[in-house]
């Protein structure tokens, strides 16, 4: 039987959310950067509107700079720092390799944060490959434990959040919500849960999280 403190459960959940958020944001930054070069100068502004951030930049390189280390709530350096903190709190439950990748990811972020040089695109590609490795290392574990489902739950909740912000296909969102419902039931069979498309899906999810993890 596996027990978990609320602290570990919460940290794993947030680790999943932060990693997913960082990965998804980097992919979106990637796309916007490409458009800014010669297709749509405002692609970055449009992207960050989805995060309710009014982003200002002069060109594609400047966009990368302010998107990643600018003074705003979606600053990736801070997100990575938060991911690392959550990993350290729950490290005994994380695959060793995945843990190492998270620390390395943060090292890259800290180096970028301290550097006065323009952001090197290679770092972004490398960060993305590290995140893929983290997911891979964490999911390859043969014997899945309860704690792994908190990480997955965080990932899926973040995916839903992104899908809602980006108005993506409802059908896939429904599918993800079904998966979330299943995880909730697995983690606490006593919880009556059936989150589906509603006016406030994220609000509903947060309410259920409060029931799932009792502090």
């Amino acid at each position: 039987m596996e027990y978990l403190t609320a602290n570990v459960a919460t940290s794993m959940y947030w680790l999943g959310r932060y990693l997913e958020r960082i990965e998804a944001t980097l992919y979106e930054i990637n796309k916007a950067y490409d458009k800014i070069i010669d297709v749509d100068k405002n692609a970055g502004v449009k992207l960050y509107k989805k995060f309710e951030i009014d982003l200002k930049y002069t060109n594609a390189s400047d966009f990368l700079d302010v998107a990643i280390r600018g003074d705003h709530s979606a600053n990736l350096i801070n997100l990575l720092k938060n991911a690392r903190e959550n990993a350290i709190i729950s490290r005994e439950y994380i695959d060793e390799l995945a843990f190492g990748e998270i620390i390395e990811l943060n090292e890259i972020a800290q180096r970028i944060a301290k550097s006065a040089e323009p952001i090197d695109y290679k770092d972004i590609d490398y960060a993305l490959s590290l995140i893929s490795e983290i997911w891979g290392a964490q999911t390859k574990r043969g014997h899945r434990k309860e704690v792994d489902y908190f990480l997955k739950l965080g990932k899926l909740v973040e995916e839903v959040d992104f899908r809602l912000r980006f108005d993506r296909k409802q059908k896939m969102t429904e599918f993800i919500l079904e998966e979330i419902n299943a995880i909730f039931k697995l983690l606490n069979p006593k919880i009556e849960i059936n989150i589906s498309q509603s006016e406030d899906i994220m609000g509903d999810l947060y309410k259920e999280m409060d029931k799932l993890i009792i502090n």
Partner: protein, 454 residues
């Protein structure tokens, strides 16, 4: 001064000569990547840093280690008997072996616990005993007993795995004792005293200097890592708060915080890292605490002087391992000696730890010596004096050069059903040449310890 190399050392250097030295940097990369940290607060700032590590291991021949092992088992057995006696019948005091005044003035002595016996009467479960090897006679000497919350075992454990990956040749070609069983020894000790329930490791939290170790040992021993507010005491029983609201009975707590902070209802009311009501549960016999509360009296620097006497008193044996020659200014004869020889002695403030409050007579000015003499005279119980042990240096590979550094050795002795000495330990070396202080908090580094045979 280096110890005379043995054939084991020769074998090591033969293999070392064939290794790619560029790979040494990989140890640091590993420690950074896996956050093998020792945290510090410096100028009010929290600093996470990896401990300096040296690739040249301390080599101890198996038959030499066997003698150390016997001596440590003897010593820790006597210390456990002392603690149990002191807190129950106090025969050792009544028989005049240890003066009552030394007990009363030891900051770790807790009168409130007199009359209480913990689970299986084990008090010092996980012990870190600091030794050095004296270059004058080639004998190992005990410098300090740590019977409260000794740390450090996780560092050699972590680095050994890396060592095997980076330089497998050593492990393929030399007979090095494997060390992976330490977490199991801890688990067995926890199970031995467990009063019924799960095992947990209680950490002060993420910002403690040894948080890495707490997390590592919890993971490897299968105990649950908890902070104070994740435990709750109900009807003198301790429960683990599961994320879903379930409360799981706890039977054994490997606590990694000091007595003063462990229960704000009993000790320091300001403590935010303690579990309210824990001591009530402990005194009711409903949970085991590793190590027991009140052990500080036994590793008090003043009480250290009496440990050889304890061995004779409880076990009727001669000590296998000796203390460093120690003087207690409390005794008139010793006070005279200390006053007349302070220039060559090491003076230790009994209230300090971690290498703080250690003064070397040979490096003090005449004025400083006079000041210290006045302090010792004014408060003789606060100080002990020891002959300076010229302990051996260890060869260290620092910045691409082989250099000599003073090094001690912390052995880990775990008391469960039996007393076990882990066949590794933490070898700590001083940051600078000639420095005798090797503590991590003084900037010292660590190296692996290989118990080997031909």
């Amino acid at each position: 001064m280096l110890e005379k190399p043995t054939r084991l050392h020769d074998k090591f250097w033969e293999i070392f000569a064939k290794q790619d030295r560029n790979k040494i940097d990989e140890f640091k990369t590993y420690m950074d990547k896996f956050a093998v940290n020792f945290n510090l607060y410096k100028d009010g700032n929290f600093i996470e840093q990896s401990l300096p590590f040296d690739v040249i291991p301390r080599i101890i021949e198996k038959k030499e280690f066997d003698k150390i092992e016997k001596g440590l088992i003897q010593r820790v057995t006597a210390l456990n008997l002392f603690l149990e006696d002191l807190y129950t019948d106090a025969k050792i005091v009544k028989d005049g072996i240890v003066p009552q005044e030394f007990i009363d003035s030891a900051s770790g002595y807790l009168k409130e616990f007199v009359g209480f016996s913990p689970s299986k009467k084990v008090r010092a479960h996980i012990n870190g005993i600091d030794l050095v090897k004296d270059s004058k006679n080639d004998e190992w000497v005990i410098l300090e007993d740590n019977l409260r919350v000794p740390s450090g075992a996780s560092y050699p454990l972590s680095i050994r795995d890396t060592y095997r990956k980076i330089y497998p040749d050593f492990f393929e070609n030399l007979k090095i004792e494997p060390i992976k069983d330490y977490p199991k020894i801890i688990t067995d000790a926890m199970n031995h005293v467990n009063t019924g329930g799960i095992n947990v490791v209680l950490t002060p939290g993420r910002f403690n200097s040894a948080y890495y170790e707490h997390s590592y040992l919890a993971q490897k021993s299968g105990a649950y890592l908890v902070r104070a507010h994740e435990l709750v005491v109900i009807d003198k029983k301790v429960y683990f708060k599961n994320y879903d609201g379930q409360k799981i009975l706890v039977g054994s707590i490997y606590r990694r915080l000091d007595d003063d902070f462990i229960d704000p209802k009993f000790f320091n009311p300001e403590s935010l890292i303690g579990v309210p009501g824990l001591i009530e549960a402990y005194l009711a016999g409903n949970v085991a605490l590793m190590n027991a509360v009140g052990n500080g009296v036994a590793d008090d620097k003043g009480i250290y002087y009496f440990v050889p006497k304890m061995i004779k008193y409880y076990l009727n044996e001669e000590p296998i391992l000796q203390n460093a020659p120690t003087y207690l200014p409390y005794f008139e004869k010793d006070m005279d000696y200390v006053m007349n020889n302070m220039e060559k002695l090491v003076i230790k403030d009994v209230a300090e730890a971690g290498g703080y409050g250690v003064l070397f007579g040979h490096s003090m000015s005449a004025l400083q010596i006079e000041d210290l003499k006045m302090m010792v005279k004014a408060n003789p119980r606060r100080f002990i004096a020891q002959e300076l042990i010229e302990f051996y240096d260890e060869k260290c590979y620092l910045n691409g050069n082989l250099e000599d550094r003073k090094a001690d050795f912390r052995a880990y002795v775990v008391v469960g059903e039996d007393v076990k000495v882990w066949n590794c330990g933490l070898t700590r070396y001083a940051l600078e040449e000639g420095n005798y202080l090797v503590n991590s908090s003084q900037g010292g580094g660590f190296k692996d310890t290989w118990v080997m045979e031909l």
